[in-house]
Amino acid sequence: MAPVVQIKDLHKIYDSGEIPVHAVRGVSLEIHRGEFLALMGSSGSGKSTLMNMLGALDRPTRGEYFLDGTDVSKLDKNDLADIRNQKLGFVFQGFNLLSRTTALENVELPLLYSKKRLSNKEMKERAMHCLDIVGLSKRSDHMPNQLSGGQQQRVAIARALVNEPQVLLADEPTGNLDSKTSIEVMGVFQKLNEQGITIVMVTHELDIAHYCKRDLILRDGVVVRDELVKDRSIAERELQRLAEAEAKAKLIGSPIPSA
């Protein structure tokens, strides 16, 4: 089967300053359906630039990028927008939900810009279905500021899923979350991946990368390591362990001695 993402010798050079910055220097990569890839690297390694190009938000200076058979590197602005809408789903570090807009309406947003015309009812149904997948169907009428960080990120994941994308792109999705919520979000990703959804995730936390199947490390714009994750963490198990530890802490925890 053809890889869903195929990159050949991708370069990105920023020309805006005095000295041109060569952010990505010849990355070649194939991602197959059902993969769960972690993209790691320190800041300045080029991982964000690579992610922007993968997300069709930016065009490479040189090289080829085939997404689901389409040569993305040659498309114009509006076609890129359609690619983002139809073939990609985005999850951001800062959630990026529209404020004062209900969870359901946030999830519907990509459908509004979809080329496929759906009736209001169909849109609502699909958005509800996606909220159901992330376990938030009961909170569909909540505003983002009425939801916790983890819940907001789950709404964002539902929004990314609503157009049934080929690849789900997550840019440090756990960066703004505490460790337990991070594991919960990773659990959602693992569940989606088991259902066959391809996920590419940028992170700089090693333990978070451990929930993925494949680990890619970038340094100075080139891939320095590309290997399968050994001893993969399973979110469900980790959460269980955490719950046990908490319960134990409560059992042993002695009351504050009175003076």
């Binding site: 922007n52 997300g55 938000l57 930016d58 602005k77 509006n78 927008a81 359609d82 983002r84 809408n85 139809q86 985005f90 951001f92 990026n96 939900l97 529209l98 004062r100 807009t101 947003l109 990509p110 509004l112 810009y113 979809s114 015309r117 929004r159 157009n163």
Partner: protein
Amino acid sequence: MMRFFVTVLMALRALRRNTMRSILTALGIIIGVGAVIAMVSIGNGAKAQVQNAIAGLGDNLIIVSPQSLNTGGVRGGAGTGVTLVPADADAIVADLQIGSNKVMSVSPYIGGGGFQVLANGLNWRPASLLGVGPDWPDIRSWRVADGNFFSEEDVKSAAKVAVLGKTTADTLFPEGNAIGQMIRIGSIPFKVIGLMDTKGFNNNQDQDDVVMLPYTSHMKRLTRRTNVSSIYVKARNEDVVDRVKQDLTDLLTQRRNGVIDFQVQDQAEIAALRNQATTTMTYLLGAIAGVSLLVGGIGIMNIMLVSVTERTREIGIRLALGAHGKDVLTQFLIEAILLSSMGGLLGVALGIGGSTIAGKYAGWAVEPSTSAMVIAVAFSSMVGVFFGFYPARKAASMDPIEALRYE
């Protein structure tokens, strides 16, 4: 189409999110349009009143009045000259009425007011005290209700007789026995010989609040003047009006050895002259409207620019999720148009309400103009398009990566 409808809904939602700010933003447009609608309504009312007044003068009427007087380079208004005399009226009668039979009736006219009238132990200051000829009722199509109008004889002898309008008669003689009674104007007694029918209000003036004397009596006994204010001429029918005007001009020019110090106007010309003032006012209003809409538009542009900056992240999200630049442009443009056209609609409501209240309070005639309303709303929407375009394009041309990174 569906996409457009959704965009309108999104724009409405965005405006509702900041209700107070939206109202304040539209306030410039609301006040501008409101002022224009109110002014046009009042102006139209005034215009209609003037036209009614001129139409109410009588049919096929021609008015000869002295040319305006120039005093040291200052041009007075029409009728400030003192060059028309009763002999002119006599000549018109001799030449055009008896001579060529084109004219039905002729009457000199002396206007004025401010005379105290005493009668029956009461005193009253009628709105006008006119000096006219015996043909006056015919010229003004005004019936005598009781008694008689004064005759040619009364004019010749400068008789001390008077005819009263309904209001004056009712005020001075509440019992209704005016005919045959004496009234005093200043120190001179006049005998009431007739009462006029009700004529009603014209141009906010009670036409029935009037005392009419033979013009000769007015001149010799009351004011000691030798000229008349104007001469009213009634043509035989509509077709000869132009002909009569020419004849009047020729006759009076001849009588003055070629000096033209008078003007001859028919009702249409008088109406046109009076309308000129209203038209000037309308242009002025248009200019004010333009300025206020411009200011309102700048207000909208300002707020839209603030809004675009404030919602940079939202724009980034929309673009990242697949919105085309066109979608974002439409969204912000529609917001601007909604702001301005709703402002326009509210302004129309404000203008109608305001002018109605002002009209009630000040006693002005008010006539709202549908075309002015349509133009005002359409124009304010155009202001929205014009001033909303720049901020909207700024939003649409954002780079999604930059916009998403914006804090």
